[in-house]
Subunit: 146 residues, 2 copies
DNA sequence: CTAAGGTATGAAAATAATTATTAATTGAGA
DNA sequence: TCTCAATTAATAATTATTTTCATACCTTAG
């Protein structure tokens, strides 16, 4: 937990910015909710418990900042809002999501078998791929039984 | 061009709905702009040339309808609005997009090599995949030269 | 023909997520 | 302690999208 906070502090310093209580509290909530995919409003509500005076706009600004700093990644599940999760950092690319159309459950996929596909695309389209976002839609095992 | 319009007419009829001039004009614009990824506002402006009395709300309603009818697909390029393109129909899954972070160009990828990956995921996670959305971010050949 | 009942529409109002503005506060460094 | 830029909360403004609502348009029954 300390590590990520220190990384943030360093990256902020490089930019001439500082690690404020609001920023610390926001990152803490995201760290404490690894595995969840919280949206801005949900993060705001949780952060307020530790930091009741924080404003929603600050949460928006902080999340934007954390994304720029490569600390969190923004996820779009086509539900009308942005969601966030911590970047693990031990992978070159972020993991991917299975979205159940039956119960809206989100399952994380660890494997990253897109490398081969990326190589083909890079060759065929002369395009230098930096990142990708992949979502799979379908039915989870629970919903399938019904 | 006639074919897709007829398909729409049939699917609308099944639902007890009708093919109105506004709906025809909207679909025509999308058909005429194959390869583009127009957003709602852009579609509205183009449709107005043929159908000046159309309202923006009708364009929103029509695009929603076309998506339900499986005639167009909605694309989210993280630029704050929905974009649409015609579904080719000759593929099981829609094609994917390379998004250049240098010039915002969008390149379409025809190949679909995710089948193997999908099979693995279906086995490992017992998840029945119906569709997927894939975006690649990076630099196009032009931007790479700079 | 005429009324009834449903669908569709444009205009305007309402929502929801996000961003900009502003004036006050904070805190690191001289 | 003083200075000054960074940060913040509160609020207003934006933007994309949806909903409301009164009206227009069809199709069909009488
Ligand atoms: Zn499910
Ligand atoms: Zn995740
Ligand atoms: Zn480019
Ligand atoms: Zn496309």
């Amino acid at each position: 937990m300390l590590e990520t906070m220190d990384i943030l502090k360093d990256r902020l310093k490089e930019k001439g910015s500082k690690l404020t209580p609001q920023r610390r509290a926001t990152l803490n909530i995201i760290l404490q909710n690894k595995g969840e995919h919280l949206n801005t409003e949900e993060i705001y509500e949780l952060v307020r418990k530790d930091c009741p005076e924080i404003g929603l706009a600050t949460v928006y600004r902080t999340l934007q900042l954390l994304e720029e700093m490569d600390i969190v990644s923004r996820i779009n599940l086509d539900d009308g809002c942005s969601r966030y999760e911590i970047k693990t950092g031990d992978e070159d690319h972020q993991h991917h999501h299975l979205i159940c159309q039956g119960c809206n459950k989100i399952i994380e996929v660890k494997i990253d078998l897109l490398d081969h596909l990326e190589q083909e695309i890079e060759k065929e389209y002369d395009f230098d791929i930096k990142d990708h976002k992949v979502k799979f839609f379908g039915l989870c095992s629970d919903c399938n039984k019904k």
